[in-house]
Amino acid sequence: MNLEILLLLMVLPPLAGAALNGILGRHFPQAAVSLIGCGAAGLSMVFALLSAWIYSTSPGQPGPFVHEYFTWIQAGELHADYALYYDRLTLIMTLTVTVVAFLIHLYSRGYMEHEGGYYRFFTYLNLFLFMMLTLVTASSYPLMFVGWEGVGLCSYLLIGFYFRKKSASDAGKKAFIVTRIGDAGFTVGVALLFWTFHALDFETVFQRVKELPPGQLEGILTAAGLLLFLGAAGKSAQLPLYVWLPDAMEGPTPVSALIHAATMVTAGVYLVARSSVIFAHAPMALEVVGIVGCFTAFFAGTIALTQNDLKRMLAYSTISQLGYMFLGCGVGVFAAGIFHLMTHAFFKSLLFLAAGSVMHAMSGELDMRKMGGLWRKLKTTHVTFLIATIAISGIPPLAGFFSKDEILAGAYEGPLGKPWLFWLGTLTAALTAFYMFRGLCMTFYGRSRVDPETAHHLHESGSKMTVPLMILAFFSVVAGWVSWPKAWNGSEAFDHYLDPVFAPATNFLRDASPEHVGGLGPGALMGFSILAAVIGIGVALWWYLKSTDIPDRLAEQWAGIYRLLTHKYYVDEFYDWLIVRPLGTVSEKFLWQVVDEGAIDNVMVNGAGEGTAWTGNLLRRIQSGNITSYAAWVLLGAVLWVFYILAAHG
């Protein structure tokens, strides 16, 4: 079958599913709703696999396949089609997205069974999948922006899924508004590209950028790159716009897994990777990407150290891992960033789903201080959570190790790599291993701190939920093997697979940057990253299994730092003081009381009324009721009319 039809068949089923469930789902039984929802996601996955296969065997490979379905916008120079773009990067993205999404759809059947709003949930989830696929298959920036905003909308709807809860609806609004700041950057960046290149589709823009000699238009491209990165930072929760993601955990757990861990939040990484050519010609912007990514990874990692809420800890860990992906892109090893995106999608969605399973068993409790010893009751959940934890900590041969190691190696020896990025990244790897094992120990091992009432109900989740966990656990183990490292006589097949996509950018960067001489070899770099993980795990096991009094003692000893970390560096409070509060004051004191009440209500609305009344008062004196005066007016009018005619024609 033709690739262009397959691509449509991949993108459209979730939209159809969303429409069907959204319009009629209220009247369907749960079984029908989940059949439609999961069926649509399943179809998407099947067609994603088929398209991957057809593309890989097509003669045009490895170049991009672009098909224009219809003209979407045509206004002067501005031309945008509904056209889909398929290359190896799209292939990786669509497979990751559809596989994870399908598994999470399956899991949601069990998780959402007793939550209410069943059809609404599947409608949003399907709509999200459609938007995400639009985002990754779009062939131009405007179409990508449609998907970009669409996933943002679904994210808002799903965070506020329990809209009767004030904190949930507030969190939804926060996510929407904070990402809006980034979106503004995205749109301005795209406008800048259009202004410079008079085109918006990837093929033309990238071709024109590739033809530029080094250094030309660097200023404009740097500005465009930074603006695009602002959009990416909003969507992918990077400094300074990361604050919405931890609050987004108010949504149902499958949503946290799908949208706020595996797929939507990686859209920013995809944007940067897709625009790699632009960033390569603007090395300063790319350096900013790397540095912001590295700092975010470290910063969020330190916050995660002290979180006691299981999902919030995972949220900070997500921010931290997204930071790694940006670090990878930022030092010029885009393939490593995408590789980490893929492996992270598996193990992080697994972590969230397992956390959801724990939450399910614990009657909604998420505070790890009230858990402990759960491994006896939640066997499958425990094993899968353990696998994901080892994977994210970076222990070979699980998935997270390979991707993280590639990024760290790139941070040292990549085209824009710097030793300090490597060391900070490695330190973060140790932090990651520590807080993940801390969470694991507090949740599953040690003395049970579950209160008796909850302990009574403690049960493993049904197969609807555990089967997706097992499948994801399988991927969390093997997903990394596609890129066996060179240091171990591997071929780094994944990186080479993506070479056709990123080669123009990486070659350009390599030509521009000086050759790295000496320093640590790949084996040593790998050694350090494993060492960091082992130290992190060791310390976590020691503190939380053996000498459990150490953490409390340390917290007392370093009370200042501890308080800073538990309060998340007071960033929320700072933003509240810097932006939210002044905005509120200006809105109330000026916009409301002066502009709205004064100018609009008083001057314009009441003014219009009073003005009419005043004029009417004046004019009604003519209406005397006296026939004689009316006659006089008529006569006067007639006389004036006669004079006018005489003057005009006379």
Partner: protein, 100 residues
């Protein structure tokens, strides 16, 4: 024969008399008669033009005016009678209820 201007002058004098009476007088019947006077002033002008232009247009118009004036007189006098029954007065200043 007297020139056209004489007829038009007569017509104008009659019209102005009618208009002035309409505005100045208070008795409704007088006012009504003033209206008739203005109509007939116009008729004079029409007849004069018809005579001097040598066609019948003006004369036909006068027929129409007479017919309308007759109809108007019938309706107008009926209104005046109804008004008199209602208000016991023929003073035009008593009929001013159509104001705010």
């Amino acid at each position: 024969m007297a020139p056209l201007s004489h007829y038009l002058a007569l017509s104008a004098i009659l019209f102005v008399l009618g208009a002035a009476g309409f505005i100045v007088r208070r008795n409704i019947i007088t006012v009504f008669m003033c209206i008739e006077l203005m109509l007939n002033a116009v008729n004079v002008a029409f007849i004069a033009f018809a005579r001097f232009n040598g066609n019948l247009d003006g004369q036909i118009f006068v027929f129409f005016v007479l017919v309308v004036a007759a109809a108007e007189a019938a309706v107008g006098l009926a209104i005046i009678i109804a008004l008199h029954r209602n208000r016991e007065s023929l003073n035009i200043e008593d009929v001013d209820s159509m104001k705010m």
